[in-house]
């Protein structure tokens, strides 16, 4: 049988775009399996991997949970895309903080990624926000980090939902706290609601810096403001409990708990999860209808809802790469969403075996 790649890709993209626009997928199974079949035909390393697992066009899965997930780190080993990567409209690179080298996610068409991220962000972050928000990013700008999916995402979100005066407060690896504090003071005077977005580590650094500057009083943000946290503590030495961090942020900026929103995404995905339940210590995160997940045990066996395991995501917006991704993230499926337990620090060479703690004399 002859296949027309362009026609097939365009048709699938159009279907996914329609589902995103309507926020409804007619048949997740059907679309996921057709995208997977497309990837078996055109994504050679993924197809080889599937073949090694006994999955081919002739022996295809029958539902979305049976699509073999590619391990996220495989993006470091091969160009996992259905097209010539030199034609990619978007190239994202993972930070590589866990293993020292980054993986690359090539995407053929920016429209799909943009539509997915904006629809998710709209629903997850700004759905009831006064329009427009002022965006303050505790991140590097896209100009500085052109291959950062997070910088790209927040830039697109700010352009779509912001007041056009967004700012970026990380230069190199430095958080520009002084400038941030000055800008927030101005914003507070102006009464423009703000969205502060950043990694967990950046927020911890911000709170530490505020303390160092003896800014211990609250900095109430204008009504309708919110904070979006993402990205975790990968590769960082100081790790703070998320609940504790959110509580400090809500107190510091006088925000209700549901306006401190956790986002969960990956460079290897095109869609994101956002907090949807703010009443539990471990918040439930919800996905848009075109992203579904399940958990597996250490042997890759699927686990029932509520049982903690490795998360596997099936993202229909990943049409031009791999539709199913196995992560290194620990979590469980609950109430149709996920509860993220987190990611253990990367294992490393042991003494006998884990480290002894530094002695008091050394600390002084």
């Amino acid at each position: 049988m002859n296949y027309d790649y362009r026609a097939e890709a365009d048709a699938l993209d159009a279907e996914v775009l329609r589902a995103i626009a309507r926020r409804h997928v007619e048949s997740f199974d059907d679309l996921a399996l057709r995208i997977f079949a497309h990837q078996l035909r055109y994504n050679e390393p993924y197809a080889r991997y599937c073949e090694s697992l006994g999955i081919t066009i002739c022996a295809s899965p029958t539902n979305w949970r049976e699509i073999p997930p590619v391990p996220a780190a495989a993006f470091k080993e091969a160009a996992l895309c259905t097209f010539d990567p030199s034609r990619a409209e978007i190239i994202f690179e993972t930070s590589g903080t866990t293993t020292g080298s980054g993986g690359i996610h090539y995407m053929e068409d920016a429209r799909l990624y943009d539509a997915s991220l904006l629809a998710g962000f709209d629903y997850g972050v700004v759905t009831d926000a006064p329009d427009p928000l002022r965006y303050c990013m505790l991140l590097t700008s896209p100009a500085q980090s052109p291959r950062s999916s997070l910088s790209y995402m927040m830039n697109r979100a700010a352009k779509a939902f912001g007041d056009g005066a967004e700012s970026w407060y990380v230069g190199g690896d430095e958080l520009q706290t002084e400038r941030f504090v000055e800008d927030i003071a101005e914003i507070r005077k102006s009464g423009v609601p703000v969205c502060i977005a950043g990694t967990a580590f950046a927020f911890v650094k911000l709170l530490d810096d505020l303390k160092l500057r003896r800014i211990t009083h609250a900095l109430p943000l204008p009504s309708g403001s919110r904070i979006m946290e993402t990205g975790g503590f990968k590769g960082r030495t100081r790790i703070v409990d998320r609940g504790e961090l959110y509580s400090h942020l809500a107190d510091t900026f006088s925000l209700p708990p549901n306006h401190v929103i956790g986002e969960y995404g990956m460079t290897e995905l095109s869609s994101q999860y956002y907090d949807s339940d703010y009443h539990q210590a471990n918040r439930v995160k919800s996905a848009p209808p075109w992203l579904r997940s399940y958990a597996v045990d250490e042997n890759g066996n699927k686990l029932p809802a509520g049982v903690v395991g490795a998360l596997v995501h099936v993202d229909l917006a990943n049409r031009s790469s791999c539709v199913a991704i196995q992560t290194e993230d620990l979590g469980a499926i609950i109430d149709g969403g996920i509860v993220l337990i987190g990611r253990e620090e990367r294992a490393e060479l042991r003494g006998c075996s884990l480290d002894a703690e530094s002695p008091r004399a050394a600390a002084s």
Binding site: E298, A310, S353
Partner: protein, 393 residues
């Protein structure tokens, strides 16, 4: 003068061995209490903890202590008085003084052998205990054996931020386990003349020769032994099998051996169930397995490039042409080796272990069971806890 200075070394060793003997009984109340605490602290299952305690306390026997001391110092009594030495001056191996042992966070009772030899050298010993209080509990048993141990053998739990923590500059020797940065920090806290006995970050490897894979039965036996070396202590110890080199060309192929190994690991999982420590790493383990499968599907050329995963119950099985390729892997990934298990009676495999930097060569299945009368980390057992007084008149 130290608390044990006037106690004959033989009696110290005997008392230590007698205390260990009480701990060999799985129903000994102190051991029962410690077992639960250790399982909770380490996240290992109770059978794994029981196995570790058996290994630890069965190894601390009078004969083993006496043999190690006699081998290093010439005879046990040289710790008590001046003794003649063949072709050398008379000498007395006196205690170096006070010794602090800073144990690591995972391995069970890692501080104990060092502490025991320091006590046999009649040093005053303080051990930084862990949250399971294993060393404290053992020292209590020791106190019951002889009153002198009450002063000579102490264990405490302290943290790096604890203002009441002992000042390291007051010790004559410090034994520490950990990564390079921590060891460097500790070193800076010591008096310049203090002895610093370090056990840094290390891994272990094994090599299965093509001759050892001459038939399914011996291959299966090696796989069973290797499985134990991999899974015990959730692959977290420096003597856990982290990398397994399998030589091409055997009657049993490398892929077949890997399949045998997977089966044996599954069987060993029953005897030594996974604990909470492994459960916490489910996602990493599952992902690492999928990544290995992905690499194989791309032609396996990447396998030599893949570092050991350092994850519970996972070893990197690396197919090699010859020992040279295994050595290249060790060097490429800068693996500091502690143990090296060998299956195959070939001189070049011993040379490989030595050239790769391993300080202990063993059979498979014995990697995680180092004898007390052997060395640890390439160092003497007791030699660093004594100072020699020579007599020339």
């Amino acid at each position: 003068m130290t608390a044990l200075a006037k106690v004959p070394a033989k009696e110290i060793a005997r008392a230590v061995a007698d205390a260990a003997d009480r701990w060999r009984d799985a129903d000994f109340p102190a051991r029962v209490r410690a077992t639960g605490r250790i399982a909770e602290r380490t996240g290992y299952s109770v059978p794994v903890v029981e196995y570790a305690l058996d290994r630890l306390f069965f190894s601390i026997a009078f004969d083993a202590l006496a043999a190690a001391i006699a081998d290093e110092l010439g005879e046990l009594e040289i710790l008590d008085d001046f003794r003649p030495r063949a072709g050398r001056t008379d000498a007395w191996a006196m205690p170096i003084g006070s010794v602090c042992v800073i144990s690591s966070r995972t391995t069970i009772g890692v501080a104990l052998p060092a502490a025991v030899f320091a006590l046999c050298a009649k040093c005053d010993v303080l051990v930084k205990d862990r949250e399971d209080y294993l060393i404290s509990a053992f020292f209590e048993t020791l106190h019951e054996q002889r009153a002198e141990f009450r002063e000579g053998a102490r264990a405490e739990l302290w943290s790096s931020h604890d203002e009441t923590a002992p000042a390291l500059e007051s010790f004559d020797a410090v034994v520490a386990f950990g990564k390079t940065e921590t060891l460097a920090t500790i070193r800076n806290a010591l008096q310049p003349e203090a002895r610093f006995i370090t056990f840094g970050s290390r891994a272990s490897a094994g090599y299965v020769s093509r001759e050892a894979l001459s038939a399914t039965a011996p291959a299966k036996d090696i796989a069973r032994q290797a499985a134990r070396d991999i899974i015990l202590y959730e692959t977290e110890g420096c003597l856990s099998l982290h990398v397994l080199f399998v030589e091409n060309g055997g009657v049993v192929g490398a892929a077949e051996f890997a399949a045998l190994l997977d089966k044996e690991i599954a069987i060993a999982d029953v005897e030594f169930p996974r604990g909470a420590a492994a459960a916490r790493r489910t996602a990493d383990i599952s992902h690492a397995r999928a990544l290995t499968a992905f690499r194989k599907s791309t032609g396996a050329t990447g396998v030599l490039d893949a570092p050991p995963p350092f994850l519970p119950r996972l070893a990197n099985v690396v197919v090699v042409r010859d020992p040279a390729e295994a050595l290249e892997y060790v060097r490429r990934h800068r693996l500091a080796l502690e143990g090296f298990a060998i299956a195959g009676d070939r001189f070049d495999l011993i040379a490989l272990g030595v050239n790769a930097g391993a300080v202990r060569l063993s059979n498979f299945g014995e990697l995680q069971d180092p004898p007390l009368h052997g060395n640890h980390g390439g160092r003497p057992r007791i030699g660093e806890f004594v100072k020699w007084i020579d007599r020339t008149f």
